[in-house]
């Protein structure tokens, strides 16, 4: 029989996890892909926050001399038709992606939380009406819905966030509603009633916090789609307007004309979008595995 190294087994189970650094390392070891996702997201957020410190170039300054300069010493990732540095535009573009991604996700989750909680907890005709409304919204794909919204609201940063947030509401509302339906029958809700708590208060202080685990999982997944939809809207010319650099618009400006002559204009923004969406998905999957009690041991 093989000799069992008890210390090693315990370490593998996480028995020696103490303090934040050790927790992070344990997470990285348990979910290596999740850690990679977290790393990508961290890099993405850091890029957005410290954009001006990272690159010396201004993303808006044009320079006729550098028009369509290939990647090289002066412009690491090349320059576009107007001689603007591609790297700088990608770095500053992270701000737009992050703002729209986080803003739309937060707004969508908030709206979905309110709708789902009311619908699930109070039920009745309210639930029926609201859910049919959600059905209608869900019958259109996220992108189409956002397209319609963005087109009718007009291009601006706030409008882009709203246009993406509203189509996210039904997804969140569904998840919150279904957990609320189960939670409102729990004995602790009855117990809260027995100490004299009002229904609204029970819904907010007792039911809502219990729905957060699935919400966090959903929110990470939605963050990726929000960023993707932002790029798509920008690609179609409905996103954040010029001159702010947006990854989607960088693609659309260049794709048609320069894809053959200056491929760096298409490749690098495309890589940026893919990497960030990939990162959110990896992180989201890891969080889902971590929070799913059925997969715990």
């Amino acid at each position: 029989m093989a000799v069992i190294d008890h210390e090693a087994e315990l370490a593998r189970a996480g028995a020696n996890v103490r303090g934040p650094l050790s927790s992070i390392l344990f997470f990285a070891r348990s979910y290596p892909l999740g850690a990679l996702g977290a790393l990508i997201m961290l890099a993405f957020v850091a890029t957005a926050v410290f954009a001006d410190a990272i690159t010396a170039f201004d993303p808006l300054t044009t320079n006729a001399h550098d028009s369509l300069a290939p990647p090289g010493d002066r412009h690491t990732l090349g320059a576009d038709f107007m001689g603007r540095d591609v790297l700088a535009r990608i770095i500053y573009g992270a701000r737009i992606s992050l703002a729209v991604g986080l803003g739309a996700t937060a707004l969508g989750c908030l709206g979905g939380m309110i709708v789902g909680l009311m619908s699930g907890y109070f039920g009745g005709w309210l639930d029926l009406t609201v859910q049919r409304l959600m059905d209608i919204m869900q019958s259109l794909p996220l992108l189409v819905m956002a397209l319609v919204m963005a087109a009718s609201l007009g291009p601006s940063l706030t409008n882009t966030i709203i246009a993406i947030a509203i189509p996210l509401v039904p997804n969140v509302a569904r998840v919150i509603r279904s957990s609320t339906l189960a939670l409102r029958e729990m004995p602790f809700v009855e117990a809260a009633r027995a100490v004299g708590m009002s229904e609204t208060r029970i819904a907010i202080t007792h039911v809502l916090p219990n729905t957060l685990a699935p919400l966090i999982v959903l929110a990470t997944a939605q963050l990726g789609s929000a960023i993707l939809v932002e790029s798509a809207l920008a690609f179609l010319g409905l996103g954040v307007p010029e001159p702010h650099p947006s990854w989607g618009r960088m693609l659309s400006e260049s794709a048609a004309e320069y894809v053959r002559t200056a491929p760096w204009l298409v490749i690098f923004p495309g890589v940026a979008i893919s990497a960030v969406v990939f990162g959110t998905n990896l992180l989201g999957d890891a969080i889902r595995d971590m929070l799913d009690p059925r997969q715990r041991f």
Binding site: E190, R193, A194, G196, M197, S198, P209
Partner: protein, 332 residues
């Protein structure tokens, strides 16, 4: 102090009208423990929920009677006034300590919440009272426990925490709905002892709902036996155990497994006697005495007319045509 008069709680279901509680009356003095016993579905839990007005409507509705607490009719209060009563004047301990606490909230917050709802004043006041309650219910290291979540506590500890929540605002009446049924036997005794102690200390009146006659014998002062939504017997606990005047009560007592000492390896004679048959469906009660189909004493009159609920002996009430014969029939 608490007076329940002719309480009627009906359920309007697809199967028809279910008279879950049909004309139950009792009174509760301060400091007293009243046990309500009966099989599953006899209406004891519904009685408790009716007192708190916590029944889901539909399907359940209190259709008649009065519940008076210090002379105030609880059934006439509006929803907001009733919320003020719950937790403050009348509170409740539930059967399931595992699921009756919110899993994502610390123990301290859940106790503090009850206090805050009924105006406990400052943050420090709430914290001190929370710690005091945890100490009172015998939870070790209260300062540590207030920050813990329910999953970090054992079943017995959780039930102690539930009791702390229920007693936090010094209620006049504590309703305990099968408080020990979900616990280990060793823990059961501890919890019962704790509740008895706290009751003595705080002077709370208690309604103990249970199907366990052992629990009744240990803690109650008075006992009400319910069957099919009605009271069938009521007496002081010693009197009831010494001289049951309803065949149903007698049947319940006989169906308790007794730990008899085996001498010379010989088991005591006689097997456990269960009550034959099942509790009748409340939507289709037989005419006459509801227990008649299962009763060894039943005669024609039992099947024809419901027996009057009468005081057979001093302080000992029963609803049976044949109580006299029961006294005569020696019970081994």
């Amino acid at each position: 102090m608490l007076e329940v008069h002719n309480l009627q709680t009906y359920f309007y279901t697809r199967a028809g009208l279910v008279k879950a509680v049909d004309g139950v009356s009792f009174s509760l003095w301060s400091g007293e423990t009243l046990a309500i016993v009966g099989e599953s579905g006899c209406g004891k839990s519904v009685t408790a929920l009716s007192l708190m007005r916590l029944l889901a409507d539909p399907p359940g509705r209190i259709v008649g009677g009065a519940v008076r607490l210090d002379g105030r009719d609880l059934l006439g209060l509006n929803a907001a006034a009733m919320r003020q009563v719950r937790g403050k004047d009348v509170s409740m301990v539930f059967q399931e300590p595992m699921t009756s606490l919110n899993p994502v909230m610390t123990i301290g917050r859940q106790i503090g919440e009850a206090l805050m709802l009924h105006g406990a004043g400052s943050r420090e006041g709430v914290r001190d009272r929370t710690l005091e309650m945890l100490r009172l219910v015998g939870i070790p290291e209260p300062a540590q426990r207030v920050r813990e979540y329910p999953h970090q506590l054992s079943g017995g500890m959780r039930q102690r925490a539930m009791i702390a929540i229920a007693l936090a605002c010094n209620p006049k009446v504590l309703i305990a709905d099968e408080p020990t049924s979900a616990l280990d036997v060793t823990i059961q005794a501890q919890i019962l002892e704790l509740m008895a102690n706290l009751q003595r200390k705080l002077g709370t009146a208690m309604i103990l709902i249970t199907h366990d006659l052992g629990v009744v014998a240990e803690t109650a002062d008075r006992v009400i036996v319910m069957y099919a939504g009605r009271k069938v017997e009521e007496a002081a606990v010693d009197e009831l155990f010494a001289r049951p005047l309803h065949p149903y009560t007698r049947g319940l007592m006989r169906s308790i497994p007794r730990f008899a000492v085996m001498r010379n390896g010989v088991a005591p004679a006689g097997r456990l006697q269960e009550i034959p048959g099942m509790v009748p469906a409340l939507s289709a009660l037989p005419t006459g005495c509801a227990f008649a189909p299962r009763c060894a004493f039943a005669s024609d009159i039992c099947r024809r007319d419901y027996p009057r609920y009468e005081e057979k002996r001093a302080g000992h009430w029963s609803a049976c045509w044949h109580s006299d014969r029961l006294v005569g029939a020696a019970d081994g």
